[in-house]
């Protein structure tokens, strides 16, 4: 039934507000967040596809009388209210997003005795706004939730116990206050030209050539919306601040942060692709910035010494793969990009939580001071190793499937250079991962390193187990997910 | 004619707000330029937005900034 669709956004928001109310007593916060986190993944499976019109404002075609005023103009398909469109792509991504959020909340509950209600509030608010961005078919809706996610991400970073978290949060907000209004001005220019905020209407107007798609205002709106997208996602020049944010949050917090960024990448990226793929050089801009993201972040990751910063840079570099998929713009490359986005969410969450266990034991994240952790927790060591293989694209796991599809689509489109660079960068990613893995687990233990003997909480090992099972299942049977993406993209192009 | 004066006051208020040494004056000038924008919204045929901007831009934002300055009682000495 269609009215389950908005529930996916309303339930996390209600849960967030309640959690904020019961901030003080610990047990209600734990129970409430646990129950809501379990219930959430079930909703996308039950809701069936279709669109949901808020306030009952169906498109004008359903109103017979009004049409007599404006016969056969574009107005007859005009969407008045906010519409949520729920297709197969949204179902898959939201289902996996809710599972990752459940696992992140489970790890937070497991690791900390005292859970603050506001931290859970921020996690649920970030989750709800990201789901709303994916569902909504309204470009101003994207801007509002873009701003809410900025504040939620800053809150999640501030909830960790890192020393320099305030400086990073401040820099992120300052750059956000430059990126956000530029996105709003871009939307303003688009609104001035088209007059409607609903993306399907804009695409309808642009496709039918009602506006000259090479007019300065239309192109300027592309430039500004593209700039806002660069900020929200962490492509250069924002990759340093974005990876800094990942490195300052708690391990489960940064696992959720990078999931938010990937989903924002997909929702705004699809909006840009649908509206602007008539212009010839949109693909070149996207490919240029994602290549820069891959090259710069891999070179920074290689020469860092704090492993949380290294995985932060790897996560930002992985977004380059998605960018290339969007930049090429064929049906196969878009499906491959969505599949790569889904895999990246799972793998990077596994790596953040996996390496977070070393932080839990040894309280330091400098790889030069660490070593020899393999003998007191071999299980997590092996799980993190499998995560690294998935990141690099080793065959049985899911990273391999999506990277092969991306390389295939690059070759089909006639860009062999992109295929070579993708292979080269994934080899160097594997080398970076092995460097961190060796210096944390395999290197002989330095004398001054004291490792607390408390065991890693069972919930963390359970989370990593579930993530690895997802990697393997998606690796062996990619068609589970790829057919859904294919059907969605088919409707788009 | 009146709208051009309002616009000039708004822009001058913004420039002066950033050039002030004493930050409290900067907060007040931000309020003035926020209020000018509220009147400008009314001239641009958007009465409800003018109301919100008057409350937020001319009252809430200066109070926030003044509170922050009071808490940090900083004077901008090197600018």
């Amino acid at each position: 039934m269609n009215d389950l669709i908005p529930l996916m956004v309303i339930i996390p928001i209600i849960a967030a507000i309640l959690l904020n109310l019961f901030n003080k007593n610990n047990s209600t916060v734990k129970i409430l967040s646990f129950v809501v986190a379990i219930v959430l993944p079930i909703i996308p499976l039950l809701a069936n596809y279709g669109t949901y019109y808020f306030g009952g404002h169906a498109p004008l075609t359903d109103y017979g009388t009004f049409l007599s005023l404006f016969p056969n103009s574009i107005l007859n398909t005009l969407h008045i209210g906010i519409t949520y469109s729920y297709g197969s792509m949204q179902q898959i991504l939201i289902f996996f997003l809710f599972i990752i959020a459940f696992l992140a909340i489970l790890t937070t509950i497991g690791e900390r005795k005292k859970i603050s209600g506001t931290y859970m509030f921020l996690m649920f608010m970030g989750l709800a706004s990201v789901v709303a961005m994916l569902l909504s078919d309204d470009i101003f809706h994207l801007y509002i939730f873009f701003e809410i996610v900025i504040i939620a991400q800053v809150g999640i970073v501030l909830a960790s116990n890192h020393k320099e978290k305030y400086e990073t949060a401040m820099k992120y907000m300052i750059l956000g206050s430059i990126g956000g209004p530029m996105l709003l001005t871009g939307i303003g220019f688009l609104l001035a030209l088209v007059g409607s905020v609903n993306i399907t209407d804009i695409v309808h107007v642009v496709k039918n050539g009602l506006i000259n798609s090479y007019s300065p205002i239309f192109l300027l709106s592309f430039g500004l919306i593209f700039f806002g997208w660069l900020y929200s996602v962490g492509l250069p020049p924002f990759h340093t601040i974005k990876s800094d944010m990942y490195s300052k949050a708690t391990p489960s917090g940064s696992a959720l942060l990078q999931t938010l960024s990937v989903i924002i990448f997909i929702s705004i990226g699809l909006a840009i692709f649908r509206i602007y793929n008539g212009i010839s050089y949109v693909g070149t801009f996207i490919i240029f910035f994602s290549l820069a993201a891959m090259i710069l972040s891999i070179s920074m990751a290689l020469t860092e010494t704090d492993f949380r910063r290294i995985i932060g840079f790897l996560a930002v570099g992985e977004l380059g793969y998605l960018g290339i998929g969007f930049g090429i713009g064929t049906k196969l490359s878009l499906t491959a990009a969505l599949f790569q986005g889904l895999n990246e969410i799972i793998i990077t969450a596994l790596l953040f939580i996996g390496f977070g266990t070393t932080l839990y034991l040894s309280k330091t994240s400098e790889i030069n001071k660490l070593g020899g952790l393999i003998e007191n927790n071999p299980k997590t060591g092996v799980m993190v190793l499998i995560g690294g293989f998935a990141l690099a694209g080793v065959p049985p796991l899911n990273g391999f499937q999506s990277k092969v599809m991306l390389i295939q689509s690059a070759l089909d489109k006639g860009f062999p250079e992109l295929a070579i660079i993708m292979i080269l960068i994934s080899i160097v990613t594997f080398m970076t991962f092995i460097k961190i893995f060796h210096s944390i687990y395999l290197k002989p233990k330095p004398k001054d390193l004291i490792i607390e003997d408390n065991k890693i909480p069972k919930s963390t090992t359970f989370t990593m187990g579930v993530l690895i099972i997802m990697c393997i299942v998606l690796g062996l049977m990619p068609s589970l997910v790829v057919n859904g993406f294919n059907a969605f993209i088919g409707g788009l192009i | 004619m009146i709208e051009y004066i309002i616009m000039i006051i708004g822009i001058l208020g913004a420039i002066l707000a950033l050039a002030q040494r004493d930050l409290l004056k900067a907060a007040i000038l931000t309020g003035i330029s926020g209020g000018c924008i509220a009147v400008l919204f009314q001239i641009l045929l958007a009465p409800d937005v003018a109301l919100t901007q008057a409350i937020v831009g001319a009252a809430i934002i200066p109070v926030f900034i003044a509170l922050a300055i009071y808490k940090t009682h900083g004077v901008d000495n090197n600018d």
């Binding site: - | 330029s33 009465p47 934002i61």
Partner: protein, 122 residues
């Protein structure tokens, strides 16, 4: 004389430029935040100037009006509804930034960006 809409566009452009100038060159963190709030206000003003219609009427649909006449000379209500939320967003972002700035002041004892956000390991 230039008409109201063009003048309002110029004011919103100058607000954005003043804000960008402050975000780049000013060293005091409170002034940087004030500059950033000017950028937000400039973007809102830009949206409202798009909705303006020279010598039109305020977009309130009274019962007796004929919809055809109303649609032809009322200002466009959609951006005005959007700006309502975006003013509040600007204020809340400013509030969060000021809160972080206060904590940074308590930690570093100074308001200048070089000392607070400066790069230690360089």
């Amino acid at each position: 004389m230039i008409n109201t809409q063009l003048a309002a566009l110029l004011t919103s452009g100058s607000f954005i430029i003043i804000g960008l100038y402050a975000a780049i060159f000013l060293d005091n963190i409170i002034k940087k935040i004030i500059g950033l709030s000017f950028i937000e206000e400039g973007a809102n003003l830009f949206l409202i100037t798009l909705a303006y219609r020279a010598d039109g009427i305020v977009p309130i649909f009274l019962s007796g009006m004929n919809p055809q006449w109303f649609a032809e000379n009322s200002a466009y209500p959609l951006p005005q509804a959007l700006v309502l939320t975006s003013i509040v967003i600007g204020a809340s972002t400013l509030a969060v930034m000021l809160a972080i700035a206060m904590v940074l002041y308590k930690k570093h004892g100074s308001l200048s960006t070089d000392e607070i956000l400066g790069d230690k390991n360089e």
